[in-house]
């Protein structure tokens, strides 16, 4: 039985050693190269004394970064991606949370790393590659690796302002990848076009299926997602046939009429998720790519990648939502109402996930982990964990699961999962801000920050950009004289929300 994700790589190099595994517009890496380079990096890290610990990978969005991840795993460690897109404040928080003793960076990120006050070991990717792979070391490391050991830690938004590191193990990722490949019908002819950053679990969809089948994954430059014609030209140039994108990237193409003018020629599998797909846009896609498969995916990082899927084969009316469907193989979804009971048919309940896919929890935070990774209340007999997503769902008449809303102030914006509380916490760090409140304008898809204090919106914008990743920076800032309050003295979010949606 497979117990390590690297077995995908070790199996495939005998079949298609010289095929391109990962590429972008400047770099190409074959399976054999990925194997050789990552074994070198693994040996190098191990010889520097690193095994069974987190190793931060601080590199750009490139095929080399993926090789660095595998290298970290070969050393017996687990990778923690950070990215130049993250602002200084967030990177500092992550370093503080992890206290890593090793960071791998490339020549570009090396210079900026020095300014974070990080005192541990720093290794250049280019240097680590030069090491000679040592078979004895690598095989003894592997013998000590269990499938329940962490593979990675990725950071997700935390409502108090502290990002949470979700750790996932090999077993969960293998379970996910096996199910995903079956659902998306991945094979050796698959050509992926990656849209998501490499520092979130979303990129698992391209990384490991590519290894399993000897497929190819192209990393699409982020700048192309601003210019739809160029984006489709890229898809056609590299004959990309499979994409797993956030909805906003797909609607960028359909809303500007590119499907009529210059449709993607090779696309046959389109997976999407993280956001509601506006039906008018979805129908445009279906109309212009009638032979393609469209699959809605749903899942929180805490349950490793995606845990529900729905193949959208029927017509949808503009007032309908595309279901999130049914659970992945070897995964169970339980709906629980406020009394921890299963609601009646059609009733709303919190979506809870059960299965091998549950991640290990939040790194360095047993307390936060125990709040949401809890004993299955329907099973009083033996330990049986479920993850409470905080998402509310219900089943329609066809027995398909629908996403209804969030229980709290978490939102999805441009496919990113964001806690509005984290944005408020950042705003409150400004000494001139007396009170701040953040809401999401669903109609215009804008994050709106209201604040009281003697700070200009220009100053505030700059401050927010220094504290938060770009995708979390408010799209509209409103400096108020007073904050509207409810009769209980709480901030009146409803009043704020209606003030922008007028």
């Amino acid at each position: 039985m497979q117990k390590n994700v690297l077995e995908y790589l070790e199996n495939i190099i005998n079949k298609v050693p010289d095929k391109t595994a990962y590429a972008d517009d400047t770099t190409q890496i074959t399976f054999k190269e990925a194997y050789n380079y990552s074994r070198s990096i693994g040996t190098y890290l191990y010889k520097q004394g690193h095994t069974k610990e987190p190793v931060v990978v601080f590199m750009g969005r490139s095929p080399n970064t993926i090789v660095a991840y595998f290298g970290v795993v070969y050393s017996g460690c687990y990778y923690v991606p950070i990215d130049e897109e993250m602002p200084r404040h967030r990177i500092e928080l992550i370093f503080k949370d992890l206290s890593p003793s090793a960071v791998i960076c490339d020549r570009e990120t090396h210079a900026s790393l020095e300014s974070y006050g990080y005192n541990g070991n720093v290794y250049l990717y280019e240097d680590a590659l030069q090491a000679e792979a040592d078979e004895d070391i690598l095989s003894s490391v592997r013998k000590k690796q269990l499938d329940i050991d962490p593979l990675y830690i990725v950071f997700t938004s935390g409502s108090t302002g502290m990002p949470k590191g979700v750790a996932a193990c090999h077993r969960s990722v293998i379970d996910y990848i096996e199910g995903l490949c079956e659902i998306l019908q991945i094979n050796e002819n698959t050509v992926f076009g990656n849209q998501t950053p490499l520092y979130v679990d979303a990129c698992l969809k391209e990384l490991y299926p590519t290894l399993k089948y000897g497929a190819t994954a192209y990393i699409i430059p982020k700048s192309l997602f601003m210019f739809p014609l160029k984006l489709v030209a890229f898809l056609n140039e590299y004959k990309i046939n499979t994409i797993c994108w956030v909805v906003s990237a797909l609607t960028m193409i359909s809303a500007f009429g590119v499907l009529q003018k210059d449709p993607p020629k090779y696309l046959h599998t389109i997976a999407f998720g993280s956001e509601v797909f506006p039906i008018r846009q979805f129908n445009l896609w279906r109309k212009h790519l009638p032979d393609a498969r469209f699959v809605n995916l749903y899942g929180p990082t805490e349950a490793t990648g995606m845990c529900c899927y729905y193949e959208a084969v029927r017509e949808f009316n503009p007032d309908e939502v595309i279901p999130i469907g049914k659970p992945f193989p070897n995964t169970e979804i339980i709906l629980l109402n406020e009394d921890n009971q299963v609601p009646e048919q059609g009733g709303v309940g919190e979506i809870c996930v059960r299965g091998t896919r549950l991640s290990l929890g939040y790194y360095n935070s047993f307390e936060k982990t125990r709040e949401v990774f809890v004993q299955n209340p329907l099973n009083p007999c033996y330990p049986d964990l479920i993850y409470r997503t905080g998402d509310l769902g219900r089943y329609n008449e066809k027995g398909e699961l629908l996403f209804v809303s969030r229980k709290d102030n978490q939102i999805k914006h441009m496919g990113h999962r964001i806690e509005l509380g984290e944005i408020e916490a950042a705003a409150n760090m400004h000494p001139g801000v007396k009170i701040a409140c953040c809401i999401y304008d669903d109609r215009k898809n804008k994050i709106v920050l209201f604040y009281v204090g003697s700070v200009t919106t220009a100053e505030m914008a700059q401050f927010m950009k220094s504290k938060l990743p770009r995708y979390m920076v408010p799209n509209l800032l409103k400096n108020l004289d007073t904050m509207p309050l409810t009769t209980n003295g709480k901030i009146d979010r409803v009043a704020l929300k209606s003030s922008v949606s007028k």
């Binding site: 997602f225 210019f227 739809p228 906003s248 500007f256 215009k444 200009t456 914008a461 770009r470 995708y471």
Partner: protein, 76 residues
């Protein structure tokens, strides 16, 4: 031009749109901004920006963007 600057400044109050000529090159605008701008410009000026015009050179500065708007108004 005033109206355009207002739209831009609402999105990024901290950017000097009158003088900046590297809005795309320096990653000041992102894909969310482009979608929002195209929508708000279409509404405000009552024009349609064809997809062929959604290219970096038209969005690199407020001046370039305004020239595009004027050109599209004339063509209508």
């Amino acid at each position: 031009m005033e109206t355009l600057l207002e739209i831009l400044e609402e999105l990024h109050p901290d950017v000097d749109f009158e003088n900046c000529e590297t809005l795309i090159d320096d990653k000041i605008l992102d894909s969310f901004d482009i979608v929002t701008l195209v929508g708000e410009i279409s509404d405000e000026f009552d024009i349609t920006i064809p997809v062929e015009e959604i290219v970096p050179k038209n969005f690199n500065s407020a001046k370039a963007l305004y020239a595009l708007i004027e050109r599209l108004i004339e063509e209508e």
